[in-house]
Symmetry: C2
Subunit: 173 residues, 2 copies
């Protein structure tokens, strides 16, 4: 049995995004129950020169929709980084999930060796589809996702690793 | 072109572990340069009930050698969690990398649907090889790896996301 590029990408983004929604909901409910202002949580950073939680969530969205779209040979839908509130960030994740759910296996499979270019100021990174996913997109996605988790824990959210790995539990017997 | 279970696992662990070694070396050199006691860095936590950096690094090692070994149908080599110093933790990562480098494609490929069981106190999780990697092992590996990164940043290490994604840069044109 072989693996397809779709199998190792789209469901992975979707499981993790749904887990992040559940983590945020738990954190928000906890903050509300304590009478805390969640805006302070959204401004939290692990270091002064790191992005705050709001931006981490926006980048999680970008990494997932950008990764999924590029693997499928599509332009990712633009989502201006204008979210300020919990509800706005939650809605962005819901829209990110909805976009990724539209991607079908036949759009991704077969693009393992297709060229995917990422343009940054002053340089272009060029990958095969497979290397883009494994060496850039997924590590970058998890980088911001786990940083968001760490910020929620740092602020006192009653969440744990099993929330982060929830998709694994659903799939395990 | 299809993907193999080896391709999407063993090189991913190895790239990330080598990146972690480089991140730790940079952080240690910085702490030394500032006259800081790195033991305090190794004790750092993002929340009082989270594991400190030392334990995060040990679990990164466990996740990688355990994941790679189970995919290959092997027992992971035991590494008692006795490391206290930077040099000991660094050596553990080097030994973890050396073990994973011994795993050959033919030991992993074909095990996409093999049953992999994880025994925890009071429960057993049962996966296919593919689901074990994608839904449990890699998310768990990145969970502790990015938490270790966050702790190093939290303590002031002069590292950035491009250090975390270094393998991607090497592979991109």
């Amino acid at each position: 049995m072989s693996l397809s590029l779709y199998d190792i990408s789209i469901p992975v983004y979707l499981t993790a995004l749904n887990n992040l929604l559940a983590l945020l909901d738990k954190a928000k409910a906890h903050a509300d129950g304590e009478g805390a202002d969640f805006a302070h949580w959204l401004d939290a950073r692990l270091a002064a020169d790191m992005h705050p939680l709001t931006r981490q969530i926006q980048i999680v969205s970008d990494a997932a929709k950008g990764g999924a779209a590029r693997l499928a040979g599509l332009e990712p839908p633009a989502m201006p980084d204008e979210e300020i509130t919990f509800d706005q960030l939650r809605d962005r994740l819901v829209r990110t999930i909805a976009f990724i759910e539209t991607i079908r296996p036949e759009q991704v499979d077969g693009r393992e060796t297709a060229t995917i270019e990422l343009k940054f100021p002053g340089r272009t990174m060029s990958f095969t589809g497979r290397d883009f996913l494994l060496n850039f997109s997924l590590p970058n996605f998890y980088f911001h996702l786990v940083t968001a988790y760490g910020l929620l824990r740092h602020k006192g959210a009653p969440i744990g690793k099993m929330d982060f790995l929830a998709g694994a539990q659903m799939r395990a017997a």
